[in-house]
């Protein structure tokens, strides 16, 4: 097990270095000589990599929480419609203030919290009904989003679509703030980890083992939704990380949350750093939406591991 942790940390360090080096121009991080290269490395690439790491980690943490909260391994951060409401908020912002740089993030943040408040109305329901309510809410927000996109002037469409597929190039939230959120979220998760482990046995068994399930569910829903809102605000809707990374980490580190949560927080970050590095490099000087690459990189790795474990 120690070897796996060591491998994970080495992979993170390696991917961060790779991310620093790659992009439109290859720069060796250890021998950057002129001011321009240093500026690219430390003022552009490094903060962006930290943002990618934090956002990926937050999404994976939210995914792990939603899967336990809903008792469903197919759950992911966007399952209860928070991403849909955030996207609707972002596009609404774009519609009214198309010239503003930060309006999509602000709109996404407001939209995400509207989605969270809507979801909280259903927090007292059991996992299955809550999931159903979430899926219906997600469908509602998708419809609202489609309506907004239909009304959006043509020049705003490209910006809206690239944001909706995940965009780390225009994050308005500073990387240190996101890393702090990553650390706080992970700490909160670890504090709840024993109760989360018991929740894996189902609500009745968890209660019989002394967990106040109602309170835990409310806290978990709020925490997971808030983390999702922050990640979406920072980088748009990036799929796949929150669904698959927790499963991948369970395969590698077992099911107990004192291992799954830190491993997911690191593994999610790792995947997004890797995906963002590829997104900046593959068709440079243009960029691919990072959400496409999370799936392209993550799916084969996950399926391979699944087959080997089987």
């Amino acid at each position: 097990m120690m070897l796996r942790w060591l491998a994970l940390f080495i992979a993170v360090a390696g991917c961060l270095l790779l991310g620093m080096a790659t992009g439109e121009q290859w720069i060796n991080p250890f021998s950057a000589s002129d001011t321009l290269e240093k500026t690219i490395l430390w003022n552009l690439r490094f903060p962006r990599l930290l943002t990618a790491f934090a956002v990926g980690g937050l999404l994976a943490l939210a995914g792990a929480w939603f899967q336990v909260l809903l008792g469903n391994p197919l759950a992911e951060p966007y399952v209860l419609g928070v991403a849909g409401s955030a996207s609707a908020g972002a596009v609404t912002g774009l519609m009214f203030m198309p010239e503003s740089a930060w309006v999509m993030s602000a709109g996404a943040f407001v939209g995400a919290w509207i989605g969270i408040v809507a979801v909280m109305f259903f927090s007292h329901l059991g996992p299955n009904r809550m999931l159903l309510a979430g899926v219906v809410l997600a469908a509602f927000w998708s419809a609202v989003l489609a309506l907004l996109l239909a009304l959006l002037p043509e020049q705003g469409l490209f910006r809206a679509f690239s944001w909706m597929m995940g965009d780390l190039s225009h994050s308005d939230l500073p990387a240190p703030l996101l890393l702090l959120a990553w650390l706080i979220a992970l700490t909160c998760g670890l504090l709840l980890s024993k109760s989360l482990d018991k929740l894996l046995l189902g609500e009745r068994h968890a209660e019989a083992l002394g967990v106040d399930v109602k309170r835990l569910r409310q806290r978990l829903l709020l925490l997971a939704s808030a983390v999702t809102a922050l990640a979406v605000t920072a980088a748009g809707t990036i799929g796949f990380v929150g669904l698959v990374i927790p499963h991948l980490m369970r395969l590698l580190f077992g099911s107990l949350h004192r291992a799954v949560l830190p491993a997911s927080a690191i593994g999610g970050g790792l995947l997004l750093v890797l995906a963002d590095s590829a997104a900046r490099t593959v068709i440079a000087p243009a960029e691919l939406p990072v959400g496409i690459l999370t799936a392209i990189i993550g799916v084969p790795v996950f399926l391979l591991l699944l087959l080997r474990r089987n």
């Binding site: 002394g210 369970r250 077992g254 099911s255």
Partner: protein, 244 residues
Amino acid sequence: MDRLMNLSDLTVERGGHTLLSGLSCQFNAGEVVVVLGPNGAGKSSLLLAMAGLIPATGTIELAGQPLASYGRDELSRSIAWQGDLPPTEFGLTVSQRLKLAAGEDAKTIGSTAATMDIAPLLQRPLGELSSGERQRTELAALMLRNTPIWLLDEPTAHLDLKHQIHCINMLKAQRERGRAIITVLHDLQQAMAIADHLILIDGKGGAEYGEAKRLFASERLTKLFDAPVITQGAVLVPDYGEMK
């Protein structure tokens, strides 16, 4: 005998339907109470109410205090509940499942697993086990809970004959150690082997509590289950008609 739990004029409802009403009884240390009744009568719901997992009207007292005055954590230190098999989606292993039950006191996991014949399965995910193996895991988890009261919902379900006997003997041993055991059973012979008292729930809202010796009678059980129960030697058995 120490009185651990007391029910007074208890009524249990599910979905607006009264399952049983007016049940009064007490549970003492070192005693086994078997709950009998037809499907859907409210046996499992009675156990859930006693564990504080569903609401009920009337009075449930634990060590002289109302059950509602206990926090969830406090309750879990007094009452262990065994019910449905837990889900297996997230890959918990047998060892991890047992650690969740044992809490800080994980030293006895190996010996308890050996007692329930699951020592070779400790590193296997629950999802790879048969229902019988999972049931034995749940019984081992129960044994790791050092609580004075056990509430068991069909502890012998899914078990083969050898492990059914093993389970009943384990319950007898736990009774000798002073545990109060309240268990739902469907097998009359198993019930007769361990019951000190019975709770009979008829599925029409009625519930009766009394000494096992008095309540084990073929006419009474025939009426309870709406199925023929006959005396064969010293035991009561279902009447399956002519044997081949």
